[in-house]
Symmetry: C2
DNA sequence: CAATAAAACGAACGGTCGTGCTATAAATTG
DNA sequence: CAATTTATAGCACGACCGTTCGTTTTATTG
């Protein structure tokens, strides 16, 4: 017994890999079992047996995408020391993940959030939960820069995180729709303005 | 002959009204002729005859939504005098349009852009074109405030517009996904920071 | 009102959807 | 290697998809 890999587990991973790619192209809602099975090279029913329901497949794809995001963005950025260094590293990796058009489809979580924000159910719940966690993590990362004395003491970290998110979204939107890499420069300038004129708490 | 209204034109308008609402709920790509026909109260084939192809229906729905946006946001904001007054009015109306959850589905154009940014074709082309026009209009509106002396003379209007768009997107994203009206306050603070610490040209 | 044009319908088409079942093939275990 | 669990395939189902076509109803016009 090779511990990590039953046959089932192995093919399941392969399915999710291809599923992420396919969902990026057509959208998570339009992800179809037949098309996915064909790409993976197995039968519809064989693939279906792994998940038992379409919605379970969607959730599994989403969880797999989230795991890759955590690995490539969060975990890597956490290798940088607390403060502006980590914040900058996080922003750079996040931007690369979300708006890079090296691979088609952009960020699956952002696309899925936009697609499912009006469809109650487990998918939406999962996305909302992850979003809350991510926002809180962002605020904390900004907070470390405050603690390090690299941002004003009364910086509004939530406001900072909210605006940082907006910069990512604007870049994502414009790069993907208008296919113009020029927007990365605007994203960079936006971060610098956030740092140099950070939003302050009102009280 | 009542000039504006053949029977055909009238029902076409009704179809588009309902079509906008339905597309907001399920997404423009998942907009279905049968479901739409049922909601309008007519036969599938009868409805289909108005457009001749699914893609034409999608484009027609998109154009109708754009017309409503222009009417309720752009045109109304242009009643305010050039400068910060108009900019603030535009922002307020845009925010209300995009992120208000009084009616379900949020902004159709934003959702459609996210859905179609990877599907080449007329729908994507239309969305990209409208996006360029809108960004240019935003920059010009900011420029008027510069001309009025209400923003620094060397304000980077494109950067300003890009960041303004990010604030709208961040609000849209968070309000719709997390159902928390609190984010409107962050949107407002973001605009004030843009005005009080406007991005400047590098040269 | 009659003639004509426009609009809506109903039925059917080939496809694909998600999802059950039953049988077979492959991997794992003793 | 034999026994058994696990994974995959094949087939069928009802439902709905976009689209076509011929017919019927409704508006418009002279």
């Amino acid at each position: 017994m090779s511990r990590t890999a039953n046959k089932g587990h192995t093919t399941r991973e392969a399915i999710l890999d291809t599923g992420i790619a396919l969902a990026r192209e057509v959208g998570l809602g339009a992800l179809t079992i037949g098309e996915l099975a064909e790409r993976v090279g197995m039968s519809k029913s064989g693939l279906f047996a792994h998940f038992g329901a379409k919605e379970e497949l969607q959730l599994a794809v989403l969880r797999a995408a989230q795991a890759r995001f955590d690995e490539n963005v969060s975990r890597q950025a956490f290798l940088a020391p607390r403060g502006l260094a980590r914040l900058r590293e996080l922003y750079k990796r996040w931007l690369g993940w979300a708006a890079s058009n090296r691979q088609p489809g952009g960020c699956l979580m952002l696309a899925a959030a936009s697609e499912f924000d009006d469809r109650p159910g487990p998918v939406r719940d999962y996305l909302a939960r992850q979003q809350e966690v991510w926002l809180a993590g962002l605020s904390r990362t900004v907070g470390f820069a405050v603690e390090a004395g690299e941002l004003p003491e009364n910086t509004d970290t939530e406001q900072f995180a909210f605006e940082l998110f907006g910069l990512i979204l604007s870049t994502h939107h414009h790069v993907r729709l208008l296919q113009d890499e020029r927007y990365f420069a605007l994203a960079q300038a936006g971060l610098e303005r956030l740092i140099n004129a950070a939003p302050l708490r009102k009280d």
